[in-house]
């Protein structure tokens, strides 16, 4: 997959959809292309968050440790981003991500991600918007869950 295809992929990620293509190209160029075979771990719960990953092809499982072993809580598909929360909050990973099939991803390091946010306010605003959107969804879900009781 070439740089320009990666840019097209990134554009389809909601977080990056409103960002200029040239900026996305820079982001793609300075990020590492990584590949994993099925079963390989991208990062583990409790690790320090040092990068976010954009899935380019393949699928991955999100697993959370529990007393009875890891539980799969969600599945990642191409064009989705994972791990961005840990680098924004400076916290450790809240879940483990494991490749469920041969996987291609773009690894955006924490430094680069933060640097881009600092330099391109339009991107930061977009990220804020997406996060706020998620928060309002979560809140709505919570209200639904509460009222359903």
């Amino acid at each position: 997959m070439l740089l320009k295809d990666e840019v097209a992929m990134l554009q389809r990620v909601p977080l990056f959809s409103a960002i200029e293509p040239t900026k996305l190209k820079l982001l793609a160029f300075t990020s590492d292309r990584v590949s994993y075979s099925a079963g390989q771990i991208l990062f583990r719960q409790g690790d320090e968050g040092d990068a976010a990953y954009v899935i380019l092809s393949g699928r991955a499982d999100i697993l959370v440790d529990s007393d009875s072993g890891p539980i799969k809580v969600a599945e990642l598909e191409p064009n989705s981003i994972v791990g961005e929360i840990a680098i924004l909050c400076n916290s450790s990973r809240t879940a483990t991500v494991r490749a469920a099939s041969p996987l291609e991803a773009l690894r955006i390091s924490k430094d680069h991600f933060l640097r881009l946010m600092r330099e391109f306010p339009e991107m930061t605003i977009e990220i804020l918007r997406v996060l706020a959107d998620r928060l309002s969804h979560t809140t709505a879900d919570l209200i639904d869950a509460r009222s359903a009781k």
Binding site: M1, L2, L3, K4, E6, T22, K25, L26, A28, F29, T30, D32, R33, V34, S35, E104, R107, D111, H112, R115
Partner: protein, 904 residues
Amino acid sequence: MEPSLARYIWTHTKKQQLWILMIVVLSMIPYFMSFDLPKLIINGPIQGSGFEQPGATQPFMRLHYSLPFIGEVQFFSGFQLDRKATLFALSLVFLLLVVINGLFKLYINTYKGRLGERMLRRIRFDLVDRVLRFPPFYFKRVKSAEVATMVKDEVEPLGGFIGDAFVQPVLLGGQALTAMLFIVVQNFWLGMIAAGIVAIQIVLIPRMRRRLIVLGRERQLTARALSGRVGEIVDGIGAVHVHDTSNYERADIAARLGLIFKIRFDLYQWKFMVKFLNNFLAQVTPFLFYMIGGYLVIQGRLDVGQLVAVIGAYKDLPGPMKELIDWDQARQDIQVKYQQVVEQFTVDRLIAPRIGVLTTDDPDPMTKPLSAIGLSIADDGGAMLLDRVSLQIKPGETVALVSTATGGAEALAEAFGRLNWPDSGKVASGADDLLELPEAVTGRRMSYASSDVFLFQASLRDNLLYGLKHAPLTSVPYDGAAADQHRWNMQEARLSGNPDLDIHSDWINYASAGATGPHDLFEAVRRVLDAVVLSRDILDLGLRSSADLTRHAELARRIVELRAALRTRLEHEGLSGLVVPFEPGAYNKEATIGQNLLFGAAAGPELADRALAANPYFASVLRQAGLDRTLYEMGMEIAEQAIELFADLPPDHQFFQQLAFMSAEEIPTYETLLQRLKNRPHEAVSENDRAMIVTLSFAYIEPRHRFGLLSDELMSKIVAARNLFYKNLPPELQNAIERYDPAKYIAAATVMDNVLFGRLGSNHPDAPDRIRSIVYDILDELGLYAELLDVGLDFNVGSGGRRLTSGQRQKLDVARALLKRPDFLILNRPLSALDQRMQDKVLRNVLEEARRDGHSSAIVWVVTNPAMGMMFDRVIVFASGKLVEDGTPETLLAGNGTFKELLS
């Protein structure tokens, strides 16, 4: 040291000075004769006195003397020569005298030069020898750069002077006196005139020069302080940058240079003023000679020959006079310099020479306990670090010294290490004062390591083995010219009062490391490195450096086996995708285009980096292979993409680390280049510009950069160009490149690159770590682990060891102390740069290592954390410079004292 320079010189060189004096006196005879001869030539054959009759002859070389009581005695009646023959004969004698005088001068100068150089060597050695004997506290007050400048620069002029110290006044004084005497003999009054002027010179000039001496001393002190400050800036460069004080330093240096300039300019002005006066006085004398001497000739009271001889002789008077005055100034100047240096090197309580005396035989083990008896130590400010402490460390005991913040345990350790001298009381081994024992005992039977590590700028190996180099143990066989050179070296060393120890001898005391020679020393080294957990770091260094094949031939010999083992292992573990190997007939996608074209490691500047595209042969290969145009277009594409991506970023942006093609500074150059070359046909582009563009393509790696510029066709063309390149490689480039050959070791590449013989896939983030641990496994399996460790030991640690981390430096220091298997191992917070977990691990290993093979070192360890005390036989607790608790950790824990308090 001897405070008077003259006496110092006289003590060490009297024989030589007397000899050279004798030669100088001897040289006066032909010198005087050469004055008298012009008169004989002019008056005799030229003016014709004694040859009044045609055909008259005069005796030549007649030897006759009038002796007391006997009267005139004739030894030889001489040859009878006519006027012309006499002229030729006398002229030839004149020539002969010129040659003899010249030869005398040559001999005297050479002899003096050698004498001076030997004395310079002696004095420099004496100074360094004293540095080696300074008491430890003295070093708190001196700057190393100042000491270095004293030894190197300030005594330098002494060498030139010493040869002249006694000879010059005699020689020049003799010459001046001879000339003066000659003038007086010719004519008393002319002689008096010359003497008068000389007297003025002798009185006036030295007076004027006193100021010069004062200025000279100031110049010396300011210059020394300058070099001290420069040394400080270099050592403290971190602090300068951290605090943004570089401009303060600039101002300080500028102020110092200003002062030095002022002093030097003053000196300069005075010097030329004095010179002017001196010259003037010298020139006035001939004026008087012409006037008064001429008058006397006209009056007939003086003949022309005499006047010419007087003027001739006078030419030789100002020279020696001036030099004599110069000598006197040099003497005062040098005396001042010498005193300045000697003052700095005269220190109380210098370590006695017998303490550091060379001992080849190993001393007996220290079987008596080490003790402190009423030991008190104060710091420079007078605060008590230790207050009348008495304790005893038995052989074989392990003791933790635990200390509150102001405890004093460190001072005790330093006292045991002889680095801090008692103010009262003493440290002793049995009944002997430790400070009175020779270093041959304490330096071999005891070891000391602290958090303040000093490493020499040498390899890791040299630093590690440094603690074993006490005495030259082998005599090196020399033959042929080397033997002569060695003999000469040793003889000269003795003549200059230097020791005649051979630095090329093997100084390593293998026995003290528990080895028998170089072949099994490595085992001991490996054990101590493992103990301090440093082996892995050194292996990493080994992998990243290129091995010296003269020393590590084994690696090169077994490289094929190693590479094969790595492939098998990777296949076995299903990790083949991690490494893309180099294959002579295939394109390696994970390597750059440049690497694929060259398929070798550049061993010289001709084909390295940026020079490659500009190399005419390489460019011709690209043309032949039909690649020149393609790569040019590719370069243009890369330039466009890079500029589009990066042009907006500030030059110090961290993203530039990702841009392999060009540096941030080059972006504007390429921007203008791109604009100029766009739409210009390939043929119309100059060679230089073409190289600039083509070179961009050489750094391209498709999977990494993902511009989509590499097609299958291009790859096969590149492989074809590679073969073409090697087919016609011109002889001058044969040594500039080492071709990749699966069966050959690449000397110019690192060990890691050699084993991999390929490139790591860029899309496996954990590939480097995994490969490294696999490579270590393989090396161990093949028995090459030691070899790699040895490559790592070649690593140069840099100035003061700064190429290592502080943790690595401290570990190395402990390893060095362990290696000589001492009877008493003193460790003063040795691992403070490491985290607690690592400290505990090393502590456990060291305790174990010290007990190996039935050996039992006593260990005194000043611990950074009281909990570490639990691992020792005995714990001694200090508070406010006093010993407050002493016992096994269990008993101390059971009590309710300071130790328990510190632990909780």
